[in-house]
């Protein structure tokens, strides 16, 4: 893939490092001389120095780029870079890093659908950790409203005497598998539970709290 990165700060640097290591072609657009120097010394000729406008994007070969990622520390700059790339140079995929999560609806409204906000990610992690002390989120799916979670059954779990089919599971949750020691048990209606079973469940984010009540006292 050919990737154009706008902004060679900390995020841009590590993105470049990662993408280059995976064998992708990368060009970084960066204004600051010291940052450009550091990137060139480490990754070779990957830098175009200057401000991200259409002329520089053309010089970077944006017409053949597969994706542009804007990761400067200014949301406004990232927005403009993405819009120029998308609208004028028809880059098929643009991704914007946003500092202030309140700007997300604006980006979406202007057609930049893929935004990444570290503030949002950290807040979600904290929130999930806070509401589910024993249920560990493993993977967020969709737009984050569906997730795969892991939970370990305690000795006093109210689920222990019951068959799976008798569990009051929330309607939008499915048990995916049960890990018992080094065995994997595929859950059926007749499955029973044992203490220390590790359960993987697919659930809506709303269902997490209810799942907790099914398996924990």
């Amino acid at each position: 893939m050919y990737v154009i990165i706008v902004g060679g700060g900390t995020v841009g640097y590590h993105l470049t490092k990662d993408l280059v290591a995976r064998g992708h072609e990368v060009t970084v657009i960066e204004q600051d001389e010291a940052r450009c120097k550091r990137l060139t010394e480490e990754f070779g000729e990957v830098v175009l120095r200057g401000e991200c406008d259409v002329a520089l994007l053309r010089e970077a070969g944006a017409e053949r780029a597969d994706v542009l990622i804007a990761v400067t520390d200014q949301d406004e700059v990232n927005l403009v870079a993405c819009l120029l790339a998308r609208r004028l140079l028809k880059v098929p995929r643009v991704i914007a890093h946003i500092v202030d999560p309140r700007n997300r609806p604006t980006f979406e409204g202007l057609g930049i659908d893929l935004t990444v906000s570290s503030t949002d990610i950290i807040c979600n992690l904290i929130e999930q950790g806070a509401i589910t002390t024993e249920i560990i989120p493993l993977l967020a799916l969709g737009k984050g409203d569906l997730e795969i979670v892991e939970l370990v059954l305690p000795h006093d779990s109210p689920a222990l005497p019951l068959l799976l089919k008798d569990l009051p599971l929330p309607g939008d949750s499915v048990l995916v598998s049960i890990i018992r020691g080094d065995q994997i048990v595929f859950p059926r209606g007749s499955t029973t539970f044992r203490p220390n079973d590790t359960i993987l469940a697919l659930t809506s984010t709303k269902g997490v709290e209810q799942l907790k009540q099914v398996f924990y006292r």
Partner: protein, 153 residues
């Protein structure tokens, strides 16, 4: 007409006062509340609004009757508090060209404001504004142009 001015610096406050002097209704947005002093000496904090968005507050200059909203001009919520839905014209003249561009995009594409104009400090960015179909003026270029004309006339 109703005009929303983003940026209460020299250009913004001059423009706001001028518009009010000509009988127009003006709201000014700036993230620095001290900048509203340039609108008039009689500045009073009228109410603190929109607690959900935190930084948004509204002040008022009594004599000049300019409503002032504290917040970033590129923040869509702040612009809503300032009443962007109902304005006839939108001006963005902060000292950050990209804030002006983003604010104008919000006005143009999300609120379909009839008349939009922004100030651009770095003349090279006039091209960016043109490409995003935002009308822009660079005071520096205009100033230099008129100096040139006086010199060679």
């Amino acid at each position: 007409m109703k005009v929303l001015v983003v940026g209460s610096g020299r250009v913004g406050s001059f423009l706001a006062r001028h518009l009010v002097g000509h009988g127009h209704q003006v709201v000014v947005v700036d993230r620095d509340p001290t900048s509203f002093k340039m609108l008039g000496e009689d500045l009073v904090v009228e109410r603190v609004a929109a607690p959900a968005t935190g930084e948004v507050q509204t002040t008022f200059t009594a004599k000049t009757r300019i409503r002032c909203v504290v917040g970033s001009g590129s923040d869509a919520e702040v612009l809503k508090t300032a009443g962007i839905q109902a304005v006839d014209a939108f001006v963005a003249v902060t000292d950050n060209d990209y804030v002006n561009l983003m604010a104008a995009l919000v006005a143009k594409e999300l609120h379909h404001t009839a008349r939009i104009i922004i100030g651009i400090i770095n003349p090279r960015r006039l091209q960016i504004a043109r490409e995003l179909q935002i009308e822009a003026i660079c005071p520096l270029t205009l100033g230099a142009q008129s100096m040139f004309e006086s010199l060679v006339r």
